[in-house]
Symmetry: C2
Subunit: 512 residues, 2 copies
C-alpha cells in the first residue's frame, strides 16, 4: 500500500482529457497545497465521482496542469495511497482502490446543509432544546430572572490571582486525571464550611464534588432509582427534579406543600391510597422552591422516620440556604439524620456564580463508592483548576466575606422589591418565601392567570416564572420573582412594568 508513486507516470496527456476533480489550487489559502489536492481527490472518491479502478493522472501531468511543483502532488497521492483510497500497480499508474464499495451516492445528498433523510434518523425520546426562544421565563437575563446573581462585590482580583496560581502550578495533582470524588483540598474546605455554617455532619470522604446541582440530581436518579421506581416530589416544586425522573424512567409522587413544608403524612397516605412505595423524597427544607416555607422540626422528624423505617432516602437540596434575612440560617436536615439516610446537595451557582458549574453532595458513607462509580462513568470528575482555586478561596476567608457582603446586598434588594410590591399592589398580593434566598413568590387576589401574565410581562423584558408551571397535581397560581440579578435602581420600573402586564392581561380590551 505504501509503494511510492514516483515510478508510475505515463500517458499524462491522455489522462488529462478526462475532467479533473480539482479545478485549481489557491496559493493564498492557509490550507497547504498538498492538502488541497488530497482533499479534492478524496472527496471525488468518497462521492464516487471517481470510480473504483479508475486511473488517476500522473503526478507530473497533474502538477503541470495545476501549475504547481510536483512535491505537493506526490505528498497528496502518497497520503491517498496510505489511507487506502488509491492503489498503485507498478509501471501502470495509480488507480482508485478497487476494494471500495461501488454503490453510488445520490447527487442530492452531497451536501451537509441538506442532509438526505432517506432512512429514519432515530433518537431516544427526551427534551430537545431548540435555538428559538421558549416562553419568557425560560429565557435568561432580564428583571426577575431566577438564577441570576450579583457580582458587584465579587473579589475578581483575588479570584484571578488564585486561578492564575494554580494555572501556573507544576504540581501534577492539578493536571492529571482527577479523583472521582473531587480535588481533596477543596473537599476538605467544603467539609469545614458545611460543618460550621450548615450543621452538616461530614468528613471530606463523604463529599462528592459535582458539576452543579443538576448533576447531583442526575446522579441520584441513576444510583438510587431504577426505571419504574417512585420518588416523592414537592408539589409545586423544582422542574429539574421532574426532568431527571423522566430521563430515568422513574415516576413522581407529588406531595403537597404547606407553611411547614412537605406534608409527610399526606405523602404516606398517598402511598397507601395508590398502592406504591416511594424510594426516596426530594425536598428543599431550608427554603421550599417555589413557596418558600421552611420545613418544621416536626415534619423533618417525620420525614427522617419515614426514611429510616421504610428503607428510603431523603434528598436535601439546600440550594440557597446561605441567604436568610430574619433569623439565623436554618440548620440542615442532614445534621438531624441519625440513620445515614440523607443525601445533602449544595451548589456554588447561587453564592458565587453559575458559570463555575460546581456543586457538592454529602453522602452517607456506604453510598460513596456507588456515587463515585456513577460519576466516573458519566464524566470522570470536574476540572481541577477551579476546585483548587476555590479551596483557597474558602480557606483564606474570601468566601465568608463574599457571603456577608452579598447577604447585605440581597437584603437591600429584597427590601426594595417588597416595598415596591406593597406600594404598587397593596393588599391585593400575598408575598411568600421572602425571608430567604434570591427570589420570592407573589400570589394575586382573584388568582389571575399566571401564564398569561408572565407571557405579557415578557413583552416588557420581564422574566417572571408562573407558579402554575411548577405544579403537578396541585393548582396554584402566582409569580416567582428573582431579585439576585436585579439592581436596586431597576426595581421600581420592573414592578411598574409588572403592574402594566397584569392590567393588560386582566382587561385586554383596554390595551387595544
Amino acid at each position: 500500500m505504501t509503494t511510492r508513486i514516483g515510478r508510475v507516470e505515463s500517458a499524462a496527456n491522455r489522462q488529462l482529457s478526462e475532467p479533473l476533480p480539482i479545478a485549481g489550487v489557491d496559493r493564498r489559502s492557509r490550507v497547504p497545497l498538498y492538502r488541497q489536492v488530497y482533499d479534492s481527490y478524496r472527496e471525488a472518491i468518497v462521492e464516487r465521482r471517481l470510480k473504483p479502478g479508475q486511473r488517476l493522472p500522473s503526478t507530473r501531468a497533474l502538477a503541470t496542469e495545476l501549475g504547481i511543483s510536483r512535491l505537493p502532488v506526490l505528498v497528496a497521492f502518497e497520503q491517498l495511497l496510505a489511507e487506502g483510497y488509491c492503489e498503485s500497480h507498478t509501471g501502470s499508474g495509480t488507480f482508485v482502490a478497487s476494494s471500495l464499495p461501488v454503490e453510488p451516492l445520490e447527487p442530492s445528498i452531497a451536501g451537509l446543509s441538506e442532509p438526505a433523510f432517506e432512512a429514519p434518523r432515530r433518537v431516544a425520546p427526551g427534551p430537545a432544546v431548540r435555538a428559538q426562544p421558549g416562553p419568557p421565563w425560560l429565557r435568561y437575563g432580564g428583571p426577575f430572572s431566577i438564577g441570576q446573581v450579583s457580582l458587584e462585590h465579587f473579589p475578581r482580583r483575588v479570584w484571578a490571582t488564585l486561578v492564575a496560581r494554580y494555572a501556573r502550578s507544576t504540581d501534577p495533582a492539578i493536571t492529571r486525571y482527577p479523583d472521582a470524588l473531587g480535588y481533596r483540598p477543596f473537599r476538605e474546605a467544603l467539609a469545614a464550611y458545611l460543618r460550621t455554617a450548615r450543621s452538616v455532619r461530614c468528613d471530606p470522604d463523604q463529599i462528592l464534588v459535582v458539576s452543579g446541582s443538576q448533576q447531583a440530581l442526575e446522579l441520584i436518579a441513576r444510583v438510587l432509582l431504577e426505571p419504574g421506581d417512585v420518588a416523592w416530589v414537592e408539589d409545586p416544586g423544582y422542574w429539574g427534579v421532574r426532568r431527571v425522573l423522566e430521563t430515568r424512567g422513574a415516576r413522581a409522587l407529588p406531595v403537597p406543600i404547606d407553611d411547614e413544608g412537605l406534608d409527610v403524612e399526606e405523602g404516606r397516605r398517598r402511598e397507601r391510597q395508590r398502592v406504591l412505595q416511594g424510594r426516596l423524597a426530594f425536598v428543599t427544607p431550608s427554603h421550599q422552591f417555589p413557596l418558600g416555607s421552611t420545613m418544621s422540626a416536626s415534619r423533618r422528624l417525620q420525614l427522617l422516620d419515614w426514611a429510616r423505617t421504610e428503607g428510603t432516602w431523603v434528598i436535601e437540596d439546600d440550594y440557597n440556604s446561605e441567604y436568610r434575612y430574619e433569623t439565623q440560617p436554618v440548620s440542615s436536615l442532614q445534621g438531624m439524620d441519625r440513620a445515614a439516610r440523607v443525601v445533602y446537595v449544595g451548589t456554588l451557582s447561587k453564592v458565587l456564580f453559575p458559570a463555575l458549574r460546581l456543586g457538592y453532595m454529602v453522602l452517607p458513607p456506604d453510598l460513596v463508592p456507588h456515587f463515585a462509580g456513577a460519576r466516573r462513568a458519566v464524566d470522570i470528575a470536574p476540572p481541577t483548576l477551579l476546585q483548587a482555586a476555590l479551596a483557597d478561596f474558602l480557606t483564606e476567608g474570601h468566601f465568608a466575606r463574599h457571603l456577608r457582603r452579598t447577604r447585605e446586598l440581597y437584603r437591600e434588594r429584597r427590601g426594595a422589591l417588597i416595598a415596591a410590591l406593597d406600594a404598587t399592589f397593596g393588599d391585593a398580593i400575598d408575598i411568600l418565601g421572602d425571608h430567604a434566598g434570591l427570589h420570592l413568590t407573589v400570589r394575586f387576589e382573584g388568582d389571575p392567570p399566571d401564564v398569561a401574565i408572565a407571557e405579557r410581562a415578557g413583552t416588557y423584558g420581564l422574566r417572571a416564572l408562573p407558579l402554575s408551571t411548577l405544579c403537578l397535581e396541585e393548582t396554584c397560581r402566582g409569580l416567582v420573582l428573582g431579585y439576585g440579578g436585579l439592581a436596586l435602581e431597576d426595581i421600581d420600573q420592573a414592578v411598574r412594568d409588572l403592574r402594566s402586564a397584569i392590567d393588560e392581561t386582566e382587561a385586554p380590551e383596554a390595551v387595544l
Copy 2:
C-alpha cells in the same frame, strides 16, 4: 411559633434538677455560644432525649447554670421556636413541641460512624468504585500508564495569563448560566481548528462542548440508544464504551478488528446471524484503541454506507489523532460523510491535560437540539472560564505550537521505547499501533498470560494494560503501553522491569 420567650421564665431551680442536654459551653470555640446551646437542645430533641411536651428551663436559669449572659440563650431558644422544635405557652414556659413524632430512636443508631442498616439500603446496580486500589492497570501514574501526558512544554505562563484575564473579566457572558452547547467563541475556535486540521465539516452551531469524551459517550447512549438497543463495538475496544452501554441498558455487538480497522462485513454478517440490528457503531478510525490500526478507505465507505442505508449512526472517537509520526494525520471519517450520519468526538485530555475535563462533539445538524436538551438535563454546560481561556489559547496560536512541540517530544519517547523493546525482546514481540497516539501495543511470542504479567509488572510500579481485558468475544493477549507520561530517561529501566516481570511470570519457580 415566633412568640418571644422573654416572658416565660419560672421555677428555674426546679427545672434544673433534671439533667441538662448541655454540660457547658466552650468559650474558645469558633462556634458561637448561641449555636452551642441551640445545637445541644436540637440534638437532644432529635434524638428524643427530650420528649415532646417536656418543659425547658428558663433562659435565665440556663444562662446562670452555663455561666454565660442571657442573650445567647435567648437567641438559641428563639431559633428553636422559629424552627418548630419548641413551643411556648404564654406564662407557663417553653416546651418541646408536642407535634413532634414520639417514636424513639434506638440508642445504637445515634452515630454516623456506625449507621444502623436496619431497613434495606437499596441502590441501583452499577459499578461501585472502592477506595482500595484495583489491579495495577487501573491505578493512575507510573510507567506505561495510559492517559498520562507530558506538560514539560506546556506554556504555563501563557495559560495562567489567559485564565486570569477571564477570571478578572466583568463580561457577564463569563459568569452567567452557560449556553448548553458551550461558550460560543470556544466553539468557533474549535470549528476552525477541526476544519483545517481534521477535515471535519462543521460550523460552530454543530459543536457541543462536553466535560471530556466520556461525557460525549454517555450523551450518545442517552440520545441515540434506548434500553435494549444494540450498538456495534470494536473488539478489542475501549472499556468506556461498554460502561455507558451497560448503564443505558443497551447491548454490545462485538465486531472484530484487523489491520484495516473494524470489519464492517463481519459486523453485518453477525447482525444477520444473530437476528438483530445495530443502532449505531462506536469506532476509533484514526488509531484503533487498542490495536492501533487505521481504518482503510474501503472500510470507511462501507461503514458510512451501512449507516446511510440502515438508518444508523457512526460514532467517530478521534481521541488522539493529532499525534501521528510517519504520515500526515489521517482525515476524519466525519469529513467523508455525505448523509450526516457521523457524530465526531474529540478531547483535549490528550493534547493538553486530563484535569481540564473538556472535549467536544460535532453533531449532524438535526441532532443538535436533542443533544443540547440532554446536556442541559445532565449538568447544564461546562464551566465558562476554561472555555474562554482556551478559545484564546487556540486562536492566538499557542495550541498549534504546543501540538508541534509535544509531537516531537512524543516522537522521541516513542522511538526510545521501540528501541528499548527491540533491544530487550528482539523478534519475540510484535509492536502494533506505534505510528500514532501516546501508546503502543505489544504482543509476545507464545502469547503468555497478559493479566498475570501485568499484575507482576505492577509490583515494579508499572501500569501495563492487559489486552485481554479489552476483549469481548475475541481472544488476544498483549500489553498496551502508554508513553505520554514516560520521561526519556526512565524508558530503559521500565522496559527492563517489564522484562523481569515477564520472566518471573513465565518461570515463577525461578523467583522463589
